[in-house]
Symmetry: C2
């Protein structure tokens, strides 16, 4: 049976040691969130993750959701777990206190989210989607709408969804057909078919609030004619009780590669009553507010699955005995050595570890900037934070989910043939991880967002929010012996980013296909450079503490050693990626269509 223990030590390291947590506590509204309080929240989150959510992860995969006549049932135990989840206040931790939230800093909330994703990513989607709906509604809804709908979403009494995709359009929402016709009373009548609606129907909550993209009768064609509507499953009465069922139903759930505990619904809206959220024809922008939150969350899914897969691979590598060390017997009392002695097993584990801890540190940085954006009253700081988070959102989404899949697959590899057997629970991580590379915009779309939109935006200002701190860091640590072996590798990765950026921007002036041709390789190159930077920062913090005795020092030594592994064995990929980018669009565009 799989195991999971929340990596609290590493999370605390990122929150309190790597970054300056006092600066976060000094933001308006954060005075109560002392390091001690945050630590105790993390411990509680660990408890519910390990004890309530994790034990349901395999059950959910095995049973999946069931569909019958429009009714969707979640797997055994989900209802009780969801109740416990809501009672513990986990649906509301980072939400605005004005609507019943706890206003916790996003830095801590992101760590909590990682635990939920490790423990049970399929379950986590239900509150996860609700949070996305909360964000969109909070940003674009009227005061009246917010008062009417947000408290029940924040408390978890009701859940939320985002209804974008239609059978013929996913990436290209300009083609969407769902219609919204105004009624006399100010509401709208919504008609159309949506697919791939996570948590579109289920038995966890008494009501479901759908945010639906649709077209008004006079809407312009394409993405400029899309509006957002709030369409609840049940129409609430004035007194807050639930009224009649709205004109929609779930017509099927998908049978998927994984994520079986999450209901992926086909929804049919047939004159359902809805309310316009925000301005007419501005629905896509409103939905993107939600989408950006979701994209970061999806990145955290990749990280969370990677963490739990890694933990199980370590446990198996310690326990499984097979063969002897190439350098001589290590466990003479046993019939064979634990496979942890084999260099290649350690390579797989350290690869996983180096990516996971790097991603967690990078996520921590993004969360800090989002927290500043949300709560700071310093305009310049907010702008810088917004720039940085915008730049990094596609990187977190795409790189973390690519790595989540790769690391889950490495865990299977560590298990050997046993990894392929369902009972062990490891192959589930590969299947569950695979979706994150696809939904909320495929990873190819993320890369286009990074290269085609974020890099050129505002004259390249967004990228400087990353480059400047790296250059400052390199400069500040020129005489730091602890970093002597790391800075050249970091500098070279940075040069690769700069050269690739220049090449693409120049190429794109004459041929826009150069953007698409380079995008995925660029995103990984940029992501690796970002990881190199956070690894160097972690070394700067850990190295001075690594020389002491005791278990605490072991943690810091492991940090420095993992950084070394990352720099020496993984970071060199930037060179190959740069070479691929240099080759440009020609090799892929000149190939004749008919020859594929």
């Amino acid at each position: 049976m799989p195991v999971y223990k929340a990596p609290l030590k590493d999370m605390r390291f990122v929150l309190h040691e790597l970054y300056d947590s006092t600066a976060i506590a000094e933001l308006p509204g954060n005075a109560d969130f002392t390091p001690e309080l945050i630590d105790s929240v993390l411990e509680e989150a660990a408890k519910i993750s390990e004890e309530v959510l994790f034990p349901l992860n395999q059950v959910g995969d095995r049973e999946g959701c069931t569909y019958e006549n429009g009714v969707v049932r979640t797997p055994t135990g989900y209802r009780e777990a969801y109740r416990t989840f809501c009672e513990g206040g986990w649906t509301s931790i980072s939400a605005d206190p004005d609507y019943g939230g706890q206003g916790m800093p996003l830095t801590a909330a992101m760590m909590v989210e990682e635990m939920f994703c490790s423990a049970n990513v399929a379950f986590g989607l239900y509150p996860g989607l609700s949070h996305g709906a909360y964000v969109a509604l909070k940003h674009s809804g009227s005061e009246e709408q917010k008062k009417a709908w947000l408290p029940n979403i924040v408390s978890g009494k009701w859940t939320g969804t985002m209804c974008l995709t239609e059978p013929h359009c996913g990436t290209d929402l300009g083609m969407l057909r769902t219609k919204a016709v105004p009624n006399d009373d100010g509401t709208y009548s919504i008609t159309g078919n949506k697919i791939f609606i996570s948590a579109g129907e289920h038995d966890l909550a008494e009501n479901i609030v759908h945010l639906v993209l649709a077209r008004l009768p006079d809407a312009p064609a394409g993405v400029k004619g899309i509006s957002m509507f709030l369409v609840p499953k049940f129409l609430p009465r004035e007194d807050g009780t639930l009224g009649p069922r709205n004109g929609m139903q779930c017509t099927a759930i998908e049978h998927k590669m994984g994520l079986n505990g999450s209901a992926t619904c086909a929804m049919s809206f047939d004159g359902a009553t809805g309310w316009l959220v925000g301005e007419p024809n501005k629905g896509l922008a409103a939905m993107f507010k939600m989408m950006n939150t979701e994209r970061l969350s999806v990145g955290i899914q990749g990280l969370g699955i990677a963490e739990v897969a890694y933990q199980n691979a370590v446990a198996y590598a310690r326990e499984r005995i097979q063969g002897r060390s190439l350098t001589g017997t290590k466990a003479p009392e046993k019939q064979a050595d634990p496979i942890l002695v084999h260099p290649d097993v350690r390579r797989m584990l350290l690869t996983s570890r180096a990516y996971i801890e790097g991603c967690r540190a990078l996520a921590g940085w993004v969360a800090r900037e989002l927290e500043i954006l949300e709560k700071s009253d310093d305009g310049d700081a907010k702008q810088a934070a917004d720039d940085f988070a915008s730049l990094m959102t596609p990187v977190v989404k795409a790189m973390f989910t690519d790595l989540g899949f790769e690391i889950a697959s490495l865990a299977v590899q560590t298990y050997g043939g046993h990894g392929y057997i369902r009972d062990h629970g490891i192959e589930q991580y590969v299947r569950d991880a695979r979706i994150a590379m696809l939904y909320e915009g495929t990873n190819g779309i993320q890369a286009l967002d990074l290269v085609g939109r974020k890099l050129p935006q505002d004259g390249g200002r967004l990228l400087t929010r990353f480059l400047d701190p790296v250059l400052e860091f390199i400069d500040a640590h020129q005489d730091n012996d602890a970093l002597a072996e790391f800075l050249p590798a970091l500098s070279q990765a940075l040069e690769h980013v700069q050269e690739a950026t220049g090449l693409i921007m120049e190429g794109a002036m004459t041929n826009r296909d150069e953007v698409g041709a380079a995008s995925v390789d660029y995103l990984r190159l940029f992501g690796l450079a970002s990881l190199a930077f956070v690894w160097a920062r972690m070394v700067a913090v850990a190295a001075p503490k690594a020389g002491e005795d005791g278990e605490a020092a072991q943690f810091y030594r492991a940090k420095v050693q993992t950084a070394k592994f990352f720099m020496e064995r993984l970071l060199p990929q930037t060179g190959a990626l740069l070479a691929a980018i240099r080759s440009g669009a020609a090799t892929m565009m000149e190939f004749e269509d008919a020859a594929f």
Copy 2:
């Protein structure tokens, strides 16, 4: 629904144009196998693959095998398909005519095998395992045993298995516990438990011939005390009819990530009657004869799945419309352009194509050498062929299966969210492909075999069987304009191989862990260099024909363009792999065990 058309044109290119097929036809016993005959066999193989095996691929995944009281039932349609398969002579194509085989060259047989793997890899395991048993028995059995058992295996009337793995040992067979006690009549009584036995029990054939590894009472400990026994499900009578049931049963089948149509059995032997095959205590060597055949077959599974996944990705990319080309509308008559216009979609397709066609060409080379080894009467040629096949077996097994999984995942990515839905049949390829990286020796074990065994063997002679032809080719084509842009990349990849080889061999003299630390990266580096060489050879053949008009020329132009894509975008990975190898074992071995 998925599609599959056997890539006959490319197969013929490899068989007849890339390599010299007359040399194969001139080998003893091959006179009948004219290019025309081989082409017609390929066409027939395409027909049964496309029309009989492929339509059962999704059914087999959905239904899986069922187990009840020791009886295993294969999915709907498998029995009929197996009958058709046997009647068509497909179980016997490459087998020795002395035992009812058709003696077809392995060069053609490997292409046929690829088609079966594309069409239905789970089904293909049943005859695949039989073929492995055929090879082992033919190599190590007595004349009497061969006459008694081989004809029914060759005809497909009976099937075969290899029973190695036990619950506590897979890689490390030295620990195996199954016992063989001599009976008075010269037979042995076999007792023990085996797991992961593909085709261990099923309803396709009237009898199953198990080749079981077990220990004699006085056997030395470890791998030097393992013997091989033939243990049939039913004991045949003198007259050839089936006698009593033997003392064994299937106690369970595994529920797996994929490959559901293939029964993976736990087998319990309880005093079953068996016959010693080959000499006592030499069972592992005998089994390795089978294992090497199986390892190549598993590599071909990776290639076969990659091919069918790629074909479906292409079909979807042509048909799915979404968004517009970055360089302006390409299909103005449609609401959006087919996604094939997007550079990143083309990157995914060309990456797949470049690996697939490269692997097919490399497999063709290995098959030639195996055919020479099997049929030539020239001792030097046989030795050279044996060396080359030994060197390449782990590369084919590991690299092809790694790539099979990667390419199946790229196909899912091309499909976007739809790729995650079971009905589309694409995610099945990811699940089915994953096992090939694990069984018949994990890919980590393959890499150790390459670096720890094959490289140092006979003073490094095996590697020269690859290096020499590459150096000769580079030398011979110095003035060939068609190759001018390809030779520098090939030369550099070769230098990377040479540098890495030197580093590892030198490091291994003082620290054996250097072998394990470098092995997986080395295998990929070596594999990429091998693909670079076959791509250069393909260019040498295709370039002169690429300039003409018509569809034929398009095929050759596509070859040259794909070669360019491979060299520019994929081959640069060798630099990153070399850098990782250079860093040595220290970063992974110094990491403290307790810190994982």
